[in-house]
Structures are given as C-alpha cells and as structure tokens.
C-alpha cells in the first residue's frame, strides 16, 4: 500500500482513486485483501440493472455500430446494449472490477424512432461478423424496413429461406436472412461466383449457390423468387433443384423466350409480356393444381392452370444460378445451364396470393432501390 507524499495518507494502491473511496463512504482504507476490497466497493456502489423498457435505442446508434471501421468490422450486438457516450460497448457485469470514475448507468438517447427489428439486427450482426462490408446506416435502415414490412404484410412467416445478399464477400452473402434457423441454410458457394455490394453474380459455366434446403421439404403450394439483372445470351437456370419439372426457374429457354417456372410436368408458360432477357424481379407461385401465377417486376406475366403440381421424390438441395441435378448430399448444376445473372435477392416459401405477390415485389424493389441496386 502506498503512502501519501502528504501527511502519510493512503491515496492509491489497490483499486481506483482514494477520492472515490471517500465518496463511497470509506473514511480510511481498511486492511483487507484485494478481493475483499473489491467486494466492499461493489457493495457500496448502486448496482446497475438493465431495464429494456427504459432503453430506447435510437436508429443512429445502430447505424454507428454497424459502420465498418477497418479490416475487422465490429459485429452489431443483436439486442440493444445500453451504452454511454464514452464507452461504445460496455459489458454490464458486476464481476468486472469497475472503474470508479465512470459508472455503467445507461443513458439512452430520447427518441421517437421505433425499435430496430430484432431479426434484421441479428441478420446484420452475422453479416458483419462474417466480414461483410458496406453496411452503412442506409443499408441498415433498408434492411430494417425490409424485415419490418415483410412482417407487417404477413409475408415474413411465409418465407422459408431467403437471402438479401449483403456485405459483398462470400461469407456474408451466404447468410440466410432468418437467423432463428441458425447457419443450417447458409449458402454454400461453388465455382466462380462473384460477390459485391450489388449481390452475387453467376458466370454461366460453373458458379452456383447451394441453399442446403431440400426441395422435397417445400410445401405443395409454394413460391420462388429471384431478383435478377445482368443476364447474358446464355439461357441458364436462374434457380432451382429437381430437374426440369419441379422447383426451378428458367426464362428465355433455348433462346426462344419461353418462360419456364418449374412447378409441374415440364410445363412451359407463355409470358404475356416478355423482354428477351432473364432480368427482372421474378416471383412465381403455385397453388394446388388450380393456378400458376408469376410476376416480373411487378407485372403479371403468367396466370394459368398448371398441368399438375408435382413434388420431387429424390431429394435435392435448392440452388441459385443453376438447376441442381444431384441428390443429397451431392450438389451439381446441370452442366450447360448455369446462368450469368446478378442476383440481389432469392427466396423460397409458401404460396402467395396475387395480392401478396404484388406487395412482395414492391417491398423487395423498395429494398433494392434504397440500396441503389434496383432494376426498375
């Protein structure tokens, strides 16, 4: 224990400053062990208790947290963590020796902004943890809006797997949007996929994404969706799994502008409006054997009675950029049918009504517009 240079008083020597000891009620420093001194101080201090109802995280707080600051971005904490202005990430734990000059009292910024959607926050946190970049406040806000609107419209619960493709690197674009599923359906990238802030791009020869979701597990009434741009003359499968007649999508088949949504026995559907490319905000849905309805960039292009509604008996993983032709556990797209599209969103789910398809198209396009990667 140190002696004072003035009158032999004890000033420093174990934890914190002597001044603080005085404030806390000690008249003199007792002869205790270090552990006992720590316990005494903690007993004197008012314990900090986290009360979620008193914490109103302001959007800018989240935006600050997700700003990449260097080669190793700091992951966003999914649940609001109370912070003060001088310590970005305090750990509310009484087991850590406190610094008496600073208390861990949360000082939430008064704000009328709604709370950040917890599922969106969890997704963004994992994107950053994976080394994703470009997650600006704009991207965070757009992602929050995406999740919130999908939930408000009752569509979020209908999505079985979906991929917003954020972060620009393989580890981040692979992340499936719903993190309550853990990493089970995170995409496995194979071949020459290119990753960027606009999404993921196929190469037309061997690039594909394996969702790890078995096609056989999709419901009979189901939807599929891909936001596609940068198509080339190669007419590959945009997505799928099941060979030909099951759960895949190919437009401009063999260059003859035949729309093909794999929802039945090798049905092809004549698109009522069809630009000669595989580009668009494509959403297709089948309900029983009553209807196959597809929208392209918000415009209905197919509304027909399907010949049948066939599920696949040999289980295959659903894919992006190809039609997976190998049974689980293998994965291989049909050679010669890989696409070159740039995909900015991918989803498989339960069937949508026409109204839901329109709403879904709007929500997805709004998301892409805010991110500056919309195609219409």
């Amino acid at each position: 224990m140190k002696s004072s240079r003035r009158k032999g008083e004890i000033q420093h020597g174990f934890i914190g400053k002597f001044k603080t000891y005085k404030k806390l009620g000690f008249k003199e420093v007792p002869e205790l062990s270090t552990e006992e001194k720590q316990r005494e101080i903690l007993n004197k201090m008012k314990p900090w208790v986290y009360d979620a109802s008193k914490v109103k995280p302001k959007f800018s707080m989240m935006a600050k947290a997700v700003q990449p600051t260097g080669p190793t971005p700091t992951p966003v904490t999914p649940t609001p963590t109370p912070t003060n202005t001088s310590t970005p990430t305090p750990t509310p734990s009484s087991t850590v020796t406190p610094t008496p000059t600073q208390t861990n009292t949360p000082t939430p910024t008064p704000s009328s902004a709604p709370a950040f959607d917890s599922d969106a926050a969890a997704y963004l946190a994992d994107v950053l943890s994976a080394g994703g970049t470009g997650i600006t406040s704009t991207v965070s806000g757009a992602t929050n809006t995406l999740f919130t609107e999908l939930k408000t419209e009752g569509l979020y619960s209908k999505l079985i797997i979906f991929y917003p493709f954020l972060g620009g690197v393989a580890a981040s674009t692979s992340i499936m949007g719903d993190r309550t599923a853990g990493t089970t359906y995170d995409m496995i990238w194979v071949g020459g996929v290119t990753h960027g802030v606009s999404g993921v791009k196929g190469n037309g020869t061997n690039a594909a994404g394996n969702t790890q979701y078995p096609a056989q597990s999709l419901p009979t009434d189901r939807m599929m969706s891909v936001y596609a741009s940068e198509a080339s003359a190669l007419s590959g499968y945009l997505m799928g799994g099941g060979q030909g007649k099951h759960n895949n999508m190919i437009l401009d088949f063999n260059g003859n502008s035949t729309g093909y949504f794999g929802f039945g026995s090798q049905n092809t559907y004549s698109l009522t409006t069809y630009p000669p490319s595989d580009e668009g905000n494509l959403v297709g849905s089948i309900t029983g054997t009553s209807s196959v309805i597809c929208y392209k960039s918000g415009v209905q292009v197919i509304n027909q009675t399907p010949a049948d509604n066939e599920q696949f008996t040999s289980n295959r993983y659903l894919s992006l950029f190809c039609d997976n032709r190998d049974n689980i556990p293998s994965f291989q797209g049909h050679s010669g049918a890989f696409s070159t599209i740039l995909s900015s969103f991918l989803a498989y789910g339960s069937d949508f009504t026409q109204s839901e398809m329109v709403t879904f198209s709007t929500i997805i396009n709004d998301f892409q517009t805010t991110l500056g990667r919309n195609i219409y």
């Binding site: 393989a170 580890a171 496995i188 990238w189 020459g192 037309g204 061997n206 007649k245």
Partner: protein, 69 residues
C-alpha cells in the same frame, strides 16, 4: 466468349470438395466436349498456395453443353 481453364481428370479429382477461398469451393464441370474445366474466377480468387498450380492451366473457350430441361 467465356474462357475457362482445362483440367485433367486427376487435377479435377484433386480440386473437388476443396476451398479456393473462404466459403467458396472449386466446382469442376464438363463442357460440350466432356473436358473438365474450372472458371477463371476460381483461379483469380484462389488464396491457397497448394493450388497455385491452377495458374498454369491452359485456357480454352467455354463450349456450352446443350440445355436439357
């Protein structure tokens, strides 16, 4: 014209199931002449020294096999 890198069957077998970058696997496929190939993106993106030999692979034009629905 898309260009790709030509593999022998032995080389193909060596690459199957291997990572060329974080979260990205090699994916050899066959072209219209049954040649095994990988993409130039895989060559450019490879970060593992044990596969540096792929930089020496001959480059050929991609020949798309017929699409079968």
């Amino acid at each position: 014209m898309i260009q790709v890198a030509l593999l022998t069957v032995t080389q193909k077998d060596e690459l199957v199931g291997q990572l060329f970058a974080v979260d990205s696997y090699f994916n050899p496929v066959q072209d219209c002449n049954d040649n095994w190939i990988i993409s130039t993106q895989e060559i450019d993106g490879n970060i593992y020294p044990q596969f540096d030999w792929i930089e020496q692979l001959p480059i050929i034009d991609w020949c798309n096999p017929p699409v079968v629905i």
